[in-house]
Structure formats: structure tokens, C-alpha cells
């Protein structure tokens, strides 16, 4: 318990970011028309691809003789990139169809 409490104190700035982001996320979405539900879901899907940054950091720290870790990290970066690139491209394709006509 002691260590957990210490840990909370140590990371209090992170915890503030989390709390504020939760409310920000709710506010930002607010009243979205149902037409945009799917593109918004898809856009949010691309944004959580930030997880790729974690994959890059892991990958960059792996000792170059640890083959298992290298392969797993390599896989993680590929998967993360798929999430980011694929996510943004699919969202753009969806939204392309909404562009104003005439």
C-alpha cells in the first residue's frame, strides 16, 4: 500500500493529465450528429495509434543480440503503424465522400 501511495504522489502530474483529458474527451465530442459517428470512431481509432510511440521506444531499447525481443518489438511497430496509417487513411476516405457538391 505504502509503495502504491508513493507512486501516486510521484506521478501526480500524470494523474492530473488523465483526469483533465477524461473531461476534455467528453466535452470535445459533445453533440456530434449521428452522420459523423462512424468517421469520428474511425478518427479516434487512428489517434489511439499513439501507442506506436511506446512500441518505438521499446524497440529502440532492445539489446541487438536479443532476437526474440527484436522480433516482438518489430511486430509491435508494424502493428502500431498499421493502426495509425490505416486509421487515418480510412477516415479520410470516409470523409472525402462528405465534401460539398456543386
Amino acid at each position: 500500500m505504502e509503495t502504491m501511495l508513493n507512486w501516486l504522489t510521484l506521478h501526480q502530474d500524470m494523474i492530473y493529465i488523465v483526469l483533465l483529458s477524461v473531461f476534455l474527451g467528453i466535452e470535445v465530442i459533445g453533440r456530434v450528429p449521428s452522420v459523423l459517428h462512424t468517421p469520428l470512431m474511425s478518427g479516434a481509432n487512428a489517434i489511439h495509434g499513439v501507442v506506436i510511440i511506446g512500441a518505438i521506444i521499446v524497440m529502440g531499447k532492445v539489446q541487438s543480440d536479443n532476437l526474440t525481443a527484436l522480433i516482438l518489438g518489430f511486430l509491435a511497430v508494424i502493428l502500431g503503424t498499421l493502426n495509425v496509417v490505416g486509421g487515418f487513411v480510412v477516415t479520410d476516405r470516409m470523409l472525402e465522400m462528405f465534401k460539398k457538391k456543386k
Binding site: W7, N45, G54, L72, F74, T91
Partner: protein, 468 residues
């Protein structure tokens, strides 16, 4: 100096995510919002690669990182560019699963690292272990669940449930929590076995979590899993003290949860009903009682009643999307308009396989945005409408949602097409729709069935009306 630049880059990244999400929720700015978020993402990624350092060491293994980035980008772009409009929801689900798997892999690698330190006699940090376990569990559930959602939308697997499935799910989840809690606090060396047991159980939980949920509810589930992955990404942010991962992940986590609730509201069902109700899987209420006879109408009769009507309303559904008939549909609409018929489209918010599906589809065929009526507006117009043409829609025009409390879709707002003078329903056959529910609309005296593939039928209608 370089680290300061990294901090600024992360700040830019976080701000673009917020602005991007904000702009994505307004039709005019949505596309730019997506591009802004993408730009912020690119800045954050490249800043991490070149500027990140830990204890004064830069990242290594550049060839591996760049090779993976290139492979991922090429595959991702190709997949996203090639996918058909009808298959977009499953594509989103697939990409979401990739993100979840990525978060789980990060946890596995970090655990490996910590475990090797523990074997050398170092005391484990329970805070970090907690983050690693949480990232593993949520990431894995999101991955396994997304794969099931993807396969279901594909039609590769069917709904699957058995007695006591919800109890078993709860049990599995309880075991996951207990094992993780024990591992984190005990910190003994058995932890490695337990870690992989938790990993395996999370996969099983993810599978059983989504398997019993009906295919028609998949967009809601994908949105929920989407917010799970966001939370998993945020745990990665905790792990590396990385603010951009934290803000991005939590933003998606909370916005995704709100979006999930909004989607449920559009169907007028609480989220718990979606998750536990096994929509469409229930056999009791879908019992096919003898509904009596239905009428059929010929192409030429349909053409005549539509061409000489004052007001025609087209109700598009998934059948239109599958048949890729949106362009012919627009042709029919123009043809009727030229004859002086007022043609509008009635768009149900959850028609098709994803919210907004019909808007996207009709926009692709250049249909004028102003002729698309939202459900409430359309319902006001139905009583003055002469002919309603239902194209491959079923559950969204089912009057049972208003009248039959035993129906699984009872309470869902539907389009009141039966208020119009004549309803022509185009379907491929009399089989019940996606949710497996009989539709009494088809047997009402005002209704006539026009069987056939939507594209085929529409082409014949267009040809017929031209000869009139």
C-alpha cells in the same frame, strides 16, 4: 536542447489530437480535423525516433524501426485504399485490433525486461507491474474482441452463445483480476507463469465478450473496444512518462465511451442491453408465427405509381449498399424529379452496418445533401407521401419496434413508412433481415413486395419509367 524540442513536439501532438477530435465532430471541418491529427501524429512519431533518450542513451535498432514503419505504412495504406465502402466498419475493427495487439506486445516486452531484472535480485516496483498488467489485459481483450467483431462483420463467424456464458465471462474476468493482483503484490518469481496465464485468459475473455453479441450491434462494440485500446495506449503513456501517449489514449478512451453511449441512444437501447441482450441471437421472440399472405408488385406497376406520384420517399438500407446500387438510385431520383415528382430520402441513423452508412453511400453517388431527411423530419412527411420505396432496409422500418414489447428491437425509433399511401419494399427474398426478426410491415394491405437485387430492380425501374 534536443529533449526540449521533444517536449515541444509532444505538446504539438497533444494539441492536434484535441483540435482534430473537435473538428471531426462537425461536418464542415471533419476532413481537415483528421489531417491535423495525422500531422500531429507524424510529428510525435518522428520526434520520438530521433530525439528520445533514456539515461542519456539514444534509441538504437534504427534499421528495424524504419523497416517496420515502412512495412506497416505500405500495408496500412493499401488496405485502407482498397477496402470497399461497405467493408469500412470491419476495416476499422481490424485496425483497432492491431492497436490493441501493439499495446499488449509492449507490455510483454517490458515485463520481460523487468523479469530479467528481478531474477538478478532487484526488487520489483509494484506500480510499474500494475501498469504492465493493465496494459496487457486491456490491449489483449481489445485485440481478441476486435478480431471477433471483424470476422462477424465479414460473415466468417456466426453468433455463438451458450447457457451461463455471462457467468463464465464474469468468472474469467474475476480470475484475471485476482491473478494480476497477486502477481503485482507478491512480486515473487512465479510471476512469469502467472503473467502468461493472465495473457491467455484475456484472449479467451475477449473472444467470449464479443461472440454472443449480434452482428447488427457490432458498430457499438467496435466503438467500445476502440475506447479500450485508447486506455491501453494511455497505460503505455504511464509506463514511459510520455504525455502524448497519455493525452491521446485517454482522450480516445473517454470520447470513445461517450460515442458508444451516443450510438446506443440512436438505437434507444441502453449499453447493457447491447452487451448482454444478445440482439438477434434470441430465438424466443423471433418465432415466425404465420403472418398471412403478402402481395407482390411488378416492375411496370411500380414504375407507373412512382412516375405519377406527387411525393416519393426512398428508404435506403444495407441491401442498397451490398448491391452497390447508389448510382442507379440517384438516376431514378433524377428521372422522377424531371417528371415533377418530389423525391426525398429518409435516413435512419443506424440504417446499414454503421451509423451514417447511408449518408456516406448516397454522398458517393452525388445525391444532393438537402434531399436527405433525418428520421424525425422524414416521419413528419410520411403521412403526405404517396409512395415509399424501401430499398434493402428491414429492421429500421419494422413497426414491431413501436407495437410489440416482446420484440428485441422494441423501443428503437423507426421510420413510420406505414403512414404513407403505398409502400413498395424491395428485398431479395422473404427471409428476415440481419437481426433475424420478422417484419409485419410486409404483410400489411398497403405494402407490396418487389423482389430482386436492388441494383437490378432499380435499373429495370429506370428503363421502365423512361418509356412512360
Amino acid at each position: 536542447m534536443e529533449l526540449n524540442i521533444l517536449v515541444i513536439c509532444y505538446l504539438i501532438g497533444s494539441v492536434t489530437f484535441i483540435i482534430g477530435l473537435k473538428m471531426l465532430s462537425h461536418p464542415e471541418s471533419a476532413r481537415r480535423g483528421n489531417l491535423i491529427a495525422a500531422a500531429g501524429m507524424a510529428i510525435s512519431i518522428f520526434a520520438t525516433i530521433f530525439l528520445y533518450e533514456e539515461d542519456g542513451h539514444k534509441l538504437q535498432n534504427y534499421p528495424w524501426i524504419f523497416a517496420a514503419l515502412i512495412i506497416g505504412s505500405v500495408l496500412g495504406t493499401l488496405a485502407a485504399k482498397r477496402v470497399k465502402m461497405t467493408a469500412m466498419p470491419e476495416m476499422v475493427s481490424l485496425f483497432n485490433g492491431m492497436g490493441g495487439a501493439c499495446a499488449a506486445l509492449i507490455s510483454i516486452l517490458e515485463f520481460d525486461h523487468i523479469y530479467s531484472l528481478m531474477k538478478d535480485g532487484e526488487v520489483s516496483d509494484s506500480g510499474i507491474l500494475l501498469i504492465i498488467f493493465a496494459g496487457l489485459i486491456i490491449g489483449t481483450i481489445s485485440f481478441a474482441g476486435s478480431m471477433v467483431a471483424w470476422a462477424k462483420l465479414n460473415g466468417r463467424i456466426k453468433d455463438f452463445s451458450f447457457q451461463g456464458q455471462h457467468i463464465m465471462n464474469l468468472l474469467i474476468f474475476g480470475v484475471i483480476i485476482c491473478l494480476s493482483g497477486y502477481s503485482i503484490y507478491s512480486g515473487d518469481l512465479q510471476i512469469q507463469t502467472l503473467f502468461y496465464v493472465v495473457f491467455a485468459l484475456s484472449i479467451i475473455y475477449g473472444l467470449f465478450f464479443v461472440l454472443p453479441i449480434g452482428g447488427a450491434d457490432m458498430p457499438v462494440v467496435i466503438s467500445l473496444l476502440n475506447s479500450f485500446t485508447g486506455v491501453a495506449a494511455a497505460f503505455g503513456g504511464f509506463l514511459y512518462d510520455n504525455p502524448v501517449m497519455l493525452t491521446g489514449g485517454i482522450l480516445v478512451g473517454s470520447a470513445g465511451t461517450i460515442l458508444t453511449i451516443l450510438m446506443c441512444k440512436a438505437m434507444n437501447r441502453p449499453l447493457s442491453n447491447v452487451l448482454i441482450g444478445s440482439f438477434g441471437g434470441s430465438k424466443s421472440s423471433a418465432a415466425s408465427k404465420d403472418q398471412g399472405a403478402y402481395k407482390e408488385i411488378s416492375i411496370s406497376d411500380s414504375a407507373v405509381v412512382m412516375a405519377y406520384a406527387k411525393k416519393v420517399m426512398i428508404v435506403p438500407g444495407y441491401g442498397l449498399a451490398v448491391a452497390q446500387a447508389q448510382h442507379v438510385c440517384h438516376e431514378l431520383e433524377k428521372l422522377l424529379s424531371d417528371k415533377g415528382v418530389e423525391v426525398n430520402y429518409a435516413i435512419h441513423p443506424v440504417a446499414g452496418r454503421m451509423p451514417g452508412h447511408m449518408n456516406v453511400l448516397l454522398a458517393e453517388a452525388d445525391v444532393d445533401y438537402s434531399s436527405l431527411l433525418e428520421m424525425e423530419d422524414a416521419n413528419d412527411v410520411f403521412p403526405q407521401t404517396d409512395v415509399v420505396l424501401v430499398l434493402g432496409a428491414n429492421d429500421v422500418v419494422n413497426p414491431a419496434a413501436k407495437t410489440d414489447p416482446a420484440s428485441p428491437i422494441y423501443g428503437m425509433p423507426v421510420l413510420d413508412v406505414e403512414l404513407a399511401k403505398l409502400v413498395i419494399i424491395n428485398k431479395r427474398s422473404m427471409n428476415p433481415g440481419y437481426a433475424g426478426i420478422e417484419n409485419e410491415l410486409f404483410f400489411q394491405p398497403k405494402s407490396s413486395m418487389l423482389f430482386g437485387d436492388a441494383k437490378d430492380v432499380l435499373q429495370k425501374l429506370v428503363a421502365e419509367i423512361k418509356t412512360l
